[in-house]
């Protein structure tokens, strides 16, 4: 998608697709024409998101590359012929038992989009795995290039359903800038996906200046996902591997990492030279909503005249919190402004026929957001963002 005309055309296609919903989601003829209860999210009248701005895709080439590796991150095949993904511990996640994986089921994904009434999805690779930190850059460059080709092929095949952002290595910002340019000009992607920890400090973020300079020329959209960056990026958070109460402690660690990234992007002068770049920080920037009051109070002492206005240069996006913790989305909308929040679900982790996060996420947010907030988060912010990129 590159023009307003194309976007409108794809919207018409989406409407047509909605009209051909699977029978499961239509009014149940065997039930006196009453709506099927399991699909209430899809059938609830009202506003529906234009784009799910947070989804992941696992590609055949990705698994082929990982299957060729001797050490994690790698893919092995068990006695039943299942492919298992094995990772290593990073500052962003502890390595767990190898888990089943397979290429993403695009057909199933499109069915989920149609069922939920969401027109499109932004596709990204699974940034959280941490390839950028755990693979040698000599391997990362061709690996990411292949990933981007595959992602672009899915977008080309289903232009009415998907947008994409390119995988970019933080270990080689100059090459990443070239790849971003290729992604825009040859692949039809709209920006890049980057690991959050590259933005833990201003010093670290500045190493990516060549990439953001290219992003400024191209009007790129950067999707910032929690993950470790290359070890060459300074200022990243320390490794804390919980030895007790791990699940709860990872929650605190992850939300802390997210906010440090949001602070660099929102409060420092890093983004000043790149006014045409848009930046999306996932999971609402972690603890950010809680700190807004104290940031506003302390900002002027730190030389930040209008901290809230500065922070609102970035877009926040809820990811999994849409479905699991919709209250926090509403809280963020009240504190940060619904006009700077994009709808997102974290759909597709692990590949295969992913669990449908779309309908449940919309249903959860419908319960807590006002009509005006939904209009902004589901529709208007997306339109404004795309318009700024000349896409609508």
């Amino acid at each position: 998608m590159s023009t307003r005309r194309e976007f409108l055309r794809s919207s018409v296609v989406a409407a047509a697709a909605a009209a051909t919903l699977p029978s499961l989601l239509r009014a149940d003829e065997k039930n006196g024409g009453k709506p099927a209860p399991v699909a209430d999210a899809a059938l609830t009248p009202g506003i529906r998101p234009l784009i799910d701005w947070h989804s992941h895709i696992v590609t055949p080439g990705e698994l082929k590359y990982l299957a060729g590796r001797k050490t994690a991150p790698r893919v092995t095949t068990d006695a039943q012929g299942r492919q298992l993904f094995e990772n290593v511990t990073t500052v962003s996640a502890v390595a767990r038992e190898a888990s089943p994986t397979s290429p993403s089921d695009i057909g199933r994904r499109i069915e989920h989009l149609a069922a939920s009434g969401i027109q499109r999805q932004l596709l990204t690779y699974t940034v959280a795995i941490g390839y950028d930190a755990t693979l040698p850059v000599e391997e990362t460059r061709p690996f990411f290039r292949g990933l981007n080709d595959e992602l672009a092929a899915v977008v080309r095949q289903h232009p009415d359903r998907f947008l994409g952002v390119a995988a970019l290595p933080t270990a080689d910002p100059a090459w990443a800038a070239e790849e971003l340019t290729r992604a825009h000009r040859e692949l039809g992607l709209i920006g890049g996906a980057l690991p959050l920890n590259a933005f833990t400090s201003l010093e670290g973020a500045r190493t990516l200046a060549p990439l953001f300079a290219a992003g400024q020329k191209l009007g790129s959209h950067f999707f910032i996902h929690r993950a470790p960056a290359s070890a060459t990026v300074p200022g990243q958070p320390p490794l804390i591997v919980p030895t007790d109460t791990a699940a709860v402690r990872w929650s605190a660690i992850s939300n802390t990492h997210l906010l440090n990234g949001a602070l660099t992007l929102g409060l420092t002068d890093f983004l000043d030279p790149y006014p045409d770049v848009s930046v999306q920080v996932i999971m609402l920037g972690g603890f950010l909503p809680y700190l807004i009051d104290s940031i506003i109070a302390s900002g002027p002492r730190a030389g930040i005249r209008d901290p809230l206005a500065s922070l609102r240069r970035i877009y926040l996006e809820p990811g999994p919190y849409s479905g699991s913790n919709p209250d926090w989305v509403a809280y963020t909308a009240a504190k940060f402004g619904a006009d700077r929040i994009l709808f997102g679900t974290d759909y597709g982790v692990g590949g295969g026929a992913a669990t449908d996060r779309l309908g449940p996420s919309v249903a959860a947010l419908d319960r807590v957001l006002t009509t005006q907030q939904r209009q902004l988060i589901y529709v208007d912010n997306t339109r404004a963002l795309l318009k700024a990129k000349g896409l609508s």
């Binding site: 400090s201 201003l202 010093e203 200022g235 958070p237 320390p238 804390i240 919980p242 030895t243 007790d244 109460t245 699940a247 709860v248 402690r249 929650s251 605190a252 660690i253 939300n255 802390t256 906010l259 440090n260 602070l263 660099t264 409060l267 420092t268 603890f287 809680y290 700190l291 009051d293 104290s294 940031i295 302390s298 900002g299 002492r301 730190a302 901290p307 699991s324 913790n325 209250d327 926090w328 509403a330 809280y331 909308a333 009240a334 504190k335 807590v368 957001l369 006002t370």
Partner: protein
């Protein structure tokens, strides 16, 4: 806030704010319409403040004699400071100490004026003294401070209670000092820096203190700051830019990590009669997000929030003073877990936190619980009789 008119104004604002906020922000959506101004007469009374600090005469004397930081200093203008070894304090490591840090008569007058009937006093662990001195120095300093604090709570028994300063570098000595605090000084527990509880491994180093605390049914107060480097697992964040906001974030993480240890790890299981108070709402409400995420991840958990936080109280403090953060904490943990605390001494007045609670979208009953009933029940369980 210093007048009845101002309180009514803020309480009225609280009603307006509650009406403007989405229902999920209200502490109790079903009852939020019941949020009411203060009763006729306006100014709240009977408030019990569980978060305040004091520099005692003996602590001033000992810290004045030190050759290096942390060292008590007075400049040519008569202004008092604690000179610290670290750069974290505004003013290049010199932490200013106004008159309210020392003058108990003035403190009691201020409390009376603001309707605060009782206040819990503790050493300000924020200043990092315990982390910066040797075990021997800590034993001398804290013993002297505690003796002074015992004298203060005897002199102002109707207004003040106290918890003893303890040395994280020497848990065995601290256990004995905690016993002395109960047996001889009339104190109700001890204060410790929160960061030493960031991991279960670190908390276990303090087992001797908690064993004694169980015997005395102590009230243990976890306040901002780090402890002795001998305690493992303490967070060590380093920042090179945007220090103020990142420091606030560090504080959230540090308190959340400590609260996780106490609420989720099982550490307190061996000490069922100990109560623990965690300052600043356990990190400005960050722990509320952690708990809600835990609930979402395990919706059928057999251990509800109330059970996990049975022994734990979160005080409003200065860092957690935002009206909405207070309401969120009440919504997630219940009003009986949230207690009024002002961080008096670092804050020259208790009024701002009273204002914040007044503006918080709470029901009248919730506000009453935070201001008075929850802290009153806590103190009563520790043998503090309030008129």
């Amino acid at each position: 806030m210093s007048s009845r008119r101002e309180f009514i104004r803020t309480a009225t604002f609280g009603v307006a704010a509650a009406a403007a906020l989405p229902s999920l922000l209200r502490a109790d959506p079903a009852a939020s319409d019941a949020t009411t101004p203060a009763p006729a007469g306006g100014k709240p009374s009977g408030l019990i403040d569980l978060h305040s600090h004091w520099f005692s005469p003996a602590s001033v004397e000992i810290l004045s004699k030190r050759a290096t930081g942390p060292k008590f200093k007075v400049n040519d203008k008569g202004e008092k400071f604690l000179s610290r070894s670290g750069p974290e304090s505004p003013g290049g490591g010199n932490f200013p100490l106004g008159a309210q840090w020392f003058d108990l008569d003035a403190r009691v007058r201020h409390l009376d004026e603001e309707g605060v009937v009782h206040q819990l006093v503790s050493w300000p662990t924020t200043l990092g003294v315990d982390a910066a001195i040797t075990a021997a120095e800590a034993r001398e300093l804290w013993a002297a401070y505690n003796t002074d604090l015992g004298g203060a709570v005897r002199k102002y028994s109707s207004h003040l209670s106290g918890v003893a300063a303890l040395a994280t570098a020497d848990p065995e000595w601290s256990a004995r000092e905690l016993a002395r605090a109960h047996d001889e000084l009339g104190l109700i527990g001890g204060v410790l820096p929160a960061n030493v509880f960031a991991t279960l491994e670190g908390a276990k180093q303090l087992a001797p203190i908690f064993a004694t605390a169980q015997k005395y049914k102590s009230h243990i107060y976890l306040h901002t700051g780090g402890g002795s480097p001998s305690i493992p697992g303490q967070p060590d964040w380093k920042h090179t830019d945007t220090a103020g906001p990142r420091g606030s974030l560090d504080n959230i993480y540090n308190f959340a990590a400590a609260t996780i240890t106490l609420a989720y790890s099982g550490f307190l299981d061996a000490y069922p009669d100990v109560t623990v108070q965690i300052a600043q709402l356990g990190g400005s409400g960050g722990i509320a997000l952690v708990e809600e995420l835990a609930r979402a991840a395990a919706p059928r958990s057999k251990e509800p929030t109330a059970a996990k936080f049975r022994q734990i109280y979160l005080d409003t403090g200065a860092g957690g003073r935002g009206p909405e953060a207070i309401a969120l904490a009440v919504r997630v943990f219940g009003a009986d877990r949230i207690v009024f605390g002002t961080d008096y001494a670092p804050q020259a007045s208790v009024a701002p936190v009273i204002d914040n609670i007044g503006q918080s979208p709470l029901t009248a009953a919730q506000r009453r619980a935070v201001f008075s009933e929850s802290p009153r029940q806590l103190l009563a369980a520790k043998g503090v009789k309030l008129v």
